[in-house]
Symmetry: C2
Amino acid sequence: MPIVVQKYGGSSVADPDKIRNVAQRIVKSHAKGNQVVVVISAMGDTTDDLIELAHKINDRPDNREMDVLLSTGEIVSSALLTMALHKLGYQAISLNGPQAGILTDAAHSKAKILKIESDRIVKELNAGKIVIVAGFQGITQDADMTTLGRGGSDTTAVALAISLKAQVCEKLTDVDGIYTADPRICPEARKIKEIAYDEMLELTSSGNKVLHIRAVELAGHYNMPILVVSSFNDSPGTLIHGGDSMDSMEVHNKVRGIAHDIDVAKVTLTGIPNQPGVAAAIFEPLTKAGISVDTIVQNAFKDNITDLTFTVSRGDLKKANDVINSIAKNIKAKEVVTDAKLAKVSIVGIGMQNTPGYASKMFSALSKAGINIQLITTSEIRITCIIEETRVKEAVLALHRAFELEKD
Amino acid sequence: MPIVVQKYGGSSVADPDKIRNVAQRIVKSHAKGNQVVVVISAMGDTTDDLIELAHKINDRPDNREMDVLLSTGEIVSSALLTMALHKLGYQAISLNGPQAGILTDAAHSKAKILKIESDRIVKELNAGKIVIVAGFQGITQDADMTTLGRGGSDTTAVALAISLKAQVCEKLTDVDGIYTADPRICPEARKIKEIAYDEMLELTSSGNKVLHIRAVELAGHYNMPILVVSSFNDSPGTLIHGGDSMDSMEVHNKVRGIAHDIDVAKVTLTGIPNQPGVAAAIFEPLTKAGISVDTIVQNAFKDNITDLTFTVSRGDLKKANDVINSIAKNIKAKEVVTDAKLAKVSIVGIGMQNTPGYASKMFSALSKAGINIQLITTSEIRITCIIEETRVKEAVLALHRAFELEKD
């Protein structure tokens, strides 16, 4: 029997009614003759509530203990969903990360899956059971609980799909696919039927929240197709896959989608004298503090002095600022300036890589809308502009129109 | 270094402030030069909330899945308490049941501890850490999570204390000891300094909720002293121990305390014809359904017909009624009557066993208060009367006075 791995997010299991809906949805897939493995997130805002609770007790909680705490959220929803399947008369069993054989490294709060020992899952599937796996978690070789970091349940699902040689990994969520832009701020946004891993990666890293980037990377690496569909309706979704059966190159020869992200904060060090090792002196302590730096921009030196700006997520700004202030004197920087109210807008498309003119068209569209560009970064298939947060919606609308994304 | 096991109940960790208090309390014991192992319950009403949530999804949830669900409550509080200790500058680590090596049988929802493999706890203690263990849970040999049933955290604490050869198992709770009656309904109640395991067992089985009965049994079997103290103040508590250093026999030669319990429901089968195997036909299916029967009373046969009454906890009444109705026809009972609004009051004291007159004094005190006795049961050191729930407070007060328990 074909194996299907389904992943349901926290909004799909936010309350008992929604959990019942999810159970019915699972049963549908089971009735088609699939062996079904379900990866489940924590209910609704559970994870945020637990984080808030921890911070009431310790403003810098230990990562190991945070993992102990947060991993309970997915365990709760896995048990409840299993009970809902029992109620419908189906055999089902919940497994936590350790029981599902998800072995990780010991990098608490952002652990990486080392391997999956799927014996228990296979045993339960072969016994005719639907298997509900608590997402987002695993276990170290020292038997300590780990979490894979935010969005890690997507990674759990893809990793299990690969390990179990599943037919497809289905991501069921509160949107019914990947759109050319966020439909909440861009009413003209259009659903994309199929998209390549690389494009999805860029959209994801640029602020599209439908999938976690590690899940897309992993799926791409092992060529595991991901189907993004709604958990609330039967609308056809978006298939993320390897590109062999992609839309024609003509369709590709353009911008595929626009992503935006308001979780952007900026740190600028001004007046840094030119000396060897400056960049290392700045970014090594940030890495050690576990801070992920997104964009880095350094101006050319002028009179042997330069400014350096980098962006981080807003949640990391305080820590990044602490780190930078502790080293600013060492590297003789003049001052440290931060701004937490930024955003980025990006255009993404494989077709862009061999075709000039996309950047200038983007800058001109933003300029016509009166939007000031603070920083620019690009990849092969993406151009990103960092702007003020308040202008995001206008920027997305302007770009969607400029690149005519409302047309199929 | 001496090892002390402390157990904190759910009310002691109901919110972040209380968790901080508990952390400070732990630190005090640690500062005295003890190696401290703490067993922790779920915060406040967490367990009840989770049970309610489960019942919204499935009115008869699977025991294995309930264990998966409920065990998260203690894990949450163990992580939070550990964070609070870190905040105070102490080394601490949380361990769940499996990590603490608590191996149980597979009787989900009421598992029994088979053995404790305490290597991990010992390793962490020797590394200078305070060890916080999630109570109430263990793991089967098939790596499934189990819970020890309600109050199971007490059992965890005593079992760990025995396994670690601790000096004492301290039960820190919202009352500061064992009283001659519940002080909330009997203002004259007096704190008992020391009490024997047997007396505590009877008080516990008769409704005193301070300790779980299995914990008292286990402690008695291995002669592990339990100290009941308040988690909120430094008032001296009650020491439960083996009796060698007990109060003088004179003090013992009387009623030691009064317990009451309003969690009593009754099922009566009327008009049962005399035939072999009737009792088995009634109680075997109840046992199979996992229902614990408390008191059983059967009248003498008259014209080869009798009535049989038994009591169960109110939570089991619906299930018990279902079971009994399914067999009532088989055993030719006339009707099945239930009453959910009962209570029991008990007097307990080792001194009672060789001294006549306690029963009659008890019945007379209740009679003078105009309280009707529905059922009576006795043990060597206890007499219990089942009465209407509404009369409990009057009954406890009347008995406390009749046996002069306000006097030391």
